[in-house]
Amino acid sequence: MLSVQARTVASITLRATMGRRRALLFALPPLILVLVTVLLKAAHAERADWPSLILGGFGLAVVLPLTALIIGTSVLGAEIDDGSVVHLLATPVPRSTVILSKFAVATGLTMLFAAVPEFLAGLIATGGPSRLAVGVLAGALAGSVIYNALFVMMSVLTTRAIAVGLLYLLVWESLLSNVVSGVRVLSAEQYSLGIANSIARDGNLNAHLGVATAAVMGAVVTVIALGLAVRRLGAFSLKGDAV
């Protein structure tokens, strides 16, 4: 049973996130994913392996992290930016409750806006509930959890969470993890791909981690990121007079 505090934080967060124009913004990447899949299916794409390339290389590597970035950095970050977070923090709510409730809302929304469309695209691409479709759904669900832990943490640590998040996605995940194999052990993208591939068993998904490593590392990263976020929120400071 969720505490009344957790439910209150979650409900305000949900209304704030869905009420902004950003709601349209984070519905965009998944929409593109589904549209591209429909187009490719209709055009009878020449390469037989196109579904795994689209679902892995675009769905799990681009749409999922981008959606999580927009949602994860805004559930708490927007309130920190405009100062309204003070109303929340000037109450005896445990800081862990604040972080976990916000994280839960962000994860749920990301699952809805990225993981579900990913599954839908998988169904369309493979013509039914295939191993690939179920695999990318599992990968996207796990990825929603891990990415949002990271992005919620970033929004507490820095006021430029979106920029830092983009840098992480572009430089760390896209660039370095393709060049330096050690980086893959610390890449959320590889965690979701590893989990997706354990069901899909498709080489085109470009998964480099086994499911055990991916799941354990994903869990460790999630716990550490949330722990850091709670710690940092406990020391949340307001700027004083202009000195």
């Binding site: 209304r15 704030a16 003070v86 007079d241």
Partner: protein, 303 residues
């Protein structure tokens, strides 16, 4: 009973000292925190409310440190200066949500009571986005009061309020203070503090410049020398007449008019009109030259 206690509290950012070695105690009743903009009033309120860590010194609210201690908000209510409130909630939803965050047994009843105190019941079902600045301020006070706190901190509560709302807020704070709560509010406007609080703490450049009964401090402020700029139809003749008056300590001719130093603000203000009439001189302009609060504060610091 909850009091606020600071013992040698300092706060600095890098090389900049925002709060410099402040020791003070505030108990039940209304206390005004007065000082020019940038003096450190907000920093001090943030320190007291647990939103800033003291660099040095000890700070307690109701006997407990407020930094990294969310439990302090069981006895403390905060009305922050920034107007941001969740705009998509109605006033009632906002105050009720705050009651739930406090885990109050009857959040609906508590919200209703609190909204009644700030007289916002008529607008409670409207979205906060549609509220005026004064209404936002009041709904913020309602949220800060919902758990019936013993200590209430308000950062510039009168900013953006029209005179009627201002009077209403003053009455409210007065009542809350009379009920035995410790009310601390900041302001850079002398009159607000004068009207409201028996005790004041004057902060200038991060230091406690004056502290105690308002009337004593007010006397200090009004008995200081004042400088006026006077422009008339015949500056020279008025200057000659003025220098014979005991309330005037100096007269200087300048291109802008007569600069008059008065030792007694009240006596000079009363005399000047009669004096010009007596000599058939037309008074065109009378400007206090040094009325900026900064000057008043600077004077207090010198004392």
């Amino acid at each position: 009973m909850s009091s606020i206690e600071l013992r040698s509290v300092s706060r600095w950012y890098g090389n900049v000292v925002a709060i410099n070695d402040i020791t003070m105690t505030m108990g039940p009743g209304v206390t005004g925190l007065l000082g020019p903009n940038g003096a450190g009033k907000s920093t001090l309120l943030h320190l007291i409310s647990g939103f800033l860590e003291p660099s040095r010194g000890e700070l307690t609210v109701g006997g407990a440190a407020s930094w990294r201690n969310p439990d302090v908000y069981r006895t403390l209510g905060l009305v922050p200066e920034r107007p941001a409130v969740y705009p998509f909630l109605t006033g009632l939803e906002f105050v009720r949500a705050t009651a739930r965050l406090h885990k109050l047994p009857g959040p609906d009843r508590a919200a209703e009571r609190s909204i009644a105190i700030v007289e916002m019941a008529a607008a409670q079902d409207r979205k906060i986005a549609t509220y005026s600045k004064g209404m936002r301020q009041r709904i913020k006070v309602a949220a800060a009061l919902v758990h019936d706190p013993e200590v209430l901190l308000l950062d510039e509560p009168f900013n953006g309020m029209d005179p009627r709302q201002r009077l209403h807020m003053m009455d409210l704070l007065e009542t809350l203070g009379d009920e035995g709560r410790t009310i601390l509010f900041s302001s850079h406007i002398l009159e607000e503090v004068e009207r409201l609080s028996g005790t004041i703490q004057v902060i200038v450049a991060g230091r406690l410049a004056a502290s105690g009964d308002f009337r004593a401090i007010r006397r200090l402020m009004t008995s200081r020398p004042h400088v006026f700029l006077v422009r008339t139809s015949d500056d020279r003749r008025l200057g000659a007449a003025l220098i014979g008056r005991p309330s005037v300590t100096g007269v200087e001719m300048s291109s802008r008019g007569l600069q008059v130093k008065a030792s007694d603000y009240g006596a000079f203000s009363r005399e000047i009109a009669g004096l010009t009439r007596e000599h058939g001189i037309q008074l065109r302009e009378l400007l206090p030259e040094d009325e900026s609060l900064e000057r008043v504060f600077a004077y207090l610091v010198e004392q």
